[in-house]
């Protein structure tokens, strides 16, 4: 089922690797994912550029989450190859491979925080797992500043997930995703279920983190504001494939009916209008008026 090594002897890969210097941290080629007779992806290809925020959109059931799961190795595709940070996910282990799980962070849709641990302990889990040589004092400090970096008040670190609101859970999940200073960040619908102000703040945070930490972000979203505000490029999933990748104007220019409807529907127009207003400098609190 899973490509992620679970047994100890399999997990013995060096956790350390030089910074990825290539241009395409994620390369998906000709992937086919099917569940029984239900083919989700067929001959799907997608390349992500280093240092960009790539938004992935598509109607419900087009397999956005399945694609994410395939890229991070939770789901093995029937055909095709996936390379992450220059290392094959699908092709078995090669000489000189390192544990790339220490180099990506994943924010799941519901946060997926470990419910019996506090937020700070959640952040410490990957640190303990990959870098046991880090002392307690430093590890606690790391957990605390990561919590702060994710936009939570520092005293939220000692709280349990059940004590947090939905938006705070997302941020706590982000703190855990950032625990190891990853190069790649996967976000699955980060702004779903957040209020417009919270969503705008999360967008800003994503952009800011991307710039400060030099991240590449793979972002699944339905949120048109997020697409307009922070995504460098957008990939559209439909008909079991990525039908187009590019900036939003480029996508609209393709004239595909679904893309047309998506971006030129009432919500799409509203989101675009708010961005245009903002770029004209008249509406600094742009996001709040957008939805």
């Amino acid at each position: 089922m899973s490509d992620i090594p679970d047994t100890p002897q399999e997990a013995e890969l060096p956790a350390v690797a030089p910074h990825y210097e290539g241009e395409h941290p994620i390369v998906v080629k000709g992937v086919r994912n099917a569940f029984g007779d239900n083919v989700v992806h067929d001959n799907l290809s997608l390349t992500v550029n280093r240092g960009e925020i790539l938004g992935v959109v598509g109607g419900s059931g087009t397999g956005k989450s399945v694609l994410l799961r395939a890229i991070i190795g939770l789901q093995t595709p029937q055909e095709g190859s996936i390379e992450v940070l220059g290392q094959s996910i699908t092709g078995g282990r090669q000489e000189g491979d390192v544990d790339i799980r220490s180099r990506w962070g994943v924010l799941f849709q519901g946060g997926a925080l470990f419910s019996t641990l506090t937020v700070a302990e959640n952040v410490e889990v990957p640190l303990k797992e990959f870098y046991p040589e880090i002392g307690d004092a430093l590890r606690h400090e790391i957990a605390r500043y990561k919590v702060m970096l994710s936009g939570l008040p520092e005293d939220a670190a000692a709280k349990y997930p059940a004590e947090l609101s939905g938006g705070m859970k997302k941020r706590a999940g982000l703190a855990r995703a950032l625990a190891l200073d990853p190069e790649l960040l996967f976000l699955d619908e980060p702004t779903a279920g957040l209020d417009p102000i919270g969503a705008a703040a999360f967008d800003g945070l994503t952009r800011e983190l991307k710039e400060t930490l030099g991240l590449t972000v793979f972002l699944i979203t339905h949120d048109l504001d997020t697409l307009y505000e922070i995504c460098d490029r957008v990939a559209v999933l439909a008909d079991r494939q990525v039908i187009a990748v590019g900036t939003i104007p480029e996508l609209i220019a393709t004239g595909h009916p679904w893309i047309e409807e998506y971006f030129n529907g009432p919500r799409g127009r509203a989101a675009r209008a708010s961005v245009e207003r903002a770029s004209a400098g008249r509406d600094p609190g742009r996001r709040e008026g957008g939805m």
Binding site: P14, A15, V16, H19, S102, S115, T116, T118, A120, E121, E124, L127, F130, Y131, E133, I134, G135, A137, L138, H140, E141, I142, A143, R144, Y145, K146, M148, L149, E154, D155, A157, A158, Y160, P161, A162, L180, D181, T212, L213, G214
Partner: protein
């Protein structure tokens, strides 16, 4: 090959040192020098990052923390290092990462106190729960169309039919053990033939029902608690309430009724299979023919023994289902709680069943059904 971060402390004029950090200063390389840096014991006037080949937020934090604690300046930071330092410097990085855990002196009395008050609130809770179930039953008796027949049939299947295999096997083996062990003891005073009385009466009065109750508690009581508990966590129970569906009617009544109805049936089935087990081993080991054993059973086991078993069984079923459903409904918070409550449901159910069985034993003997 793993490259670690390095540092050197260079003394300057006023007794303070300049700290030169070099190599990669990242989460994967900083572990060892962090300990040494914390144990340094000298005042640092300057943190020099010019020898750093690579830096991430952990490196930036370490440099910043040393600078902050010593009132030192940071030199030689490139753009990236400076940007990262600016990002982390708003954090204090101090304080608890988990709520403080009180010492043993506080924890033990607290646990004892919670246990005692828990009995109180638990009793009130159980009585309230029983009341809710009874009022629902009364309501359903007056409005039979509201009764969820399908859910009930499904529970009958889960509690009863699918347990037949394991309960049958268990009872058969228990019957073999009673007959064989009983025969060994009775043989010593030539009363081997009483093995039939022993097996028949024990199976009908006690063991058939009791073992079945333990098996049902383990199979179905735990399933009730875990299922309802998970539904509580995913807010399904709350969703039911808002739609106007009473969780007691939809979830608990079918389970309780299924357990109450199925326990006598499973109990008598278990008793019969144990007797067959006893007859089976007697045919081989004790030279009592199989059918002689069975026909003797009719003569030596009074009908009251069957009634004793059949009267006890629904009560045991009630206890098991109530414990499972009650504990399931108490789940809140996290996944650990589901496990905890499931364990409690099974332990309480089995314990209560055995206590009640003791009362029944004394009662039936006193009313002359001994």
């Amino acid at each position: 090959m793993r490259e670690w971060a390095q540092f050197s402390a260079e003394p300057s004029d006023d007794g303070a040192v300049t700290l030169n950090l070099s190599g990669p200063l990242t989460v994967s390389s900083i572990g060892p020098i962090d300990r040494e840096l914390r144990a340094l014991g000298q005042r640092v006037a300057r943190v020099d990052l010019s020898g750093v080949s690579e830096i991430d937020t952990v490196g930036a934090w370490t440099a910043w923390r040393i600078a902050r604690d010593n009132g030192a300046e940071i030199a030689g930071a490139d753009d990236r290092a400076q940007r990262l330092i600016d990002a982390v410097k708003e954090a204090k990085g101090e304080g608890e990462v988990a709520p403080p855990r009180p010492g043993v002196v506080e924890r033990v009395p607290e646990a004892v106190g919670e246990l005692v008050t828990g009995w109180g609130t638990g009793t009130v809770g159980v009585v309230g729960f029983l009341g809710a179930v009874l009022t629902s039953l009364w309501y359903l008796a007056r409005h039979p169309s509201k009764f969820r027949g399908k859910a009930m049939v499904r529970q009958l299947e889960l509690v009863g039919v699918s347990a037949l295999g394991i309960i049958g096997l268990m009872s058969f083996l228990v019957g073999i053990v009673i007959a064989q062990q009983g025969a060994v003891q009775l043989e010593q005073f030539g009363a081997q033939i009483y093995t039939i009385n022993l097996t028949g009466r024990l199976a009908m009065r006690e063991l058939g029902i009791l073992m079945t109750a333990i098996m049902v508690a383990g199979r179905s009581g735990s399933a009730f608690a875990a299922q309802i508990g998970t539904m509580r966590l995913t807010e399904e129970v709350d969703a039911m309430r808002t739609i106007g569906v009473s969780p007691v009617e939809a979830l608990i009544v079918p389970r309780v009724l299924a357990a109450v109805l199925m326990m006598p049936l499973l109990g008598i089935y278990a008793a019969i299979v144990s007797i067959i087990g006893g007859a089976f081993i007697s045919a081989f080991a004790l030279d009592i023919p199989f059918f002689t054993f069975l026909s003797r059973i009719q003569e030596v086991v009074p009908l009251t023994d069957v009634w004793v078993g059949m009267i006890k069984a629904p009560f045991f079923g009630l206890i098991i289902a109530m414990a499972g459903c009650y504990q399931g409904m108490q789940v809140k918070g996290n996944a650990e709680e589901v496990g905890l409550r499931t364990t409690l449901a099974v332990v309480q159910a089995i314990f209560m069943v055995i206590v009640l069985d003791a009362f029944f034993a004394v009662f039936f003997t006193n009313v002359g059904w001994g």
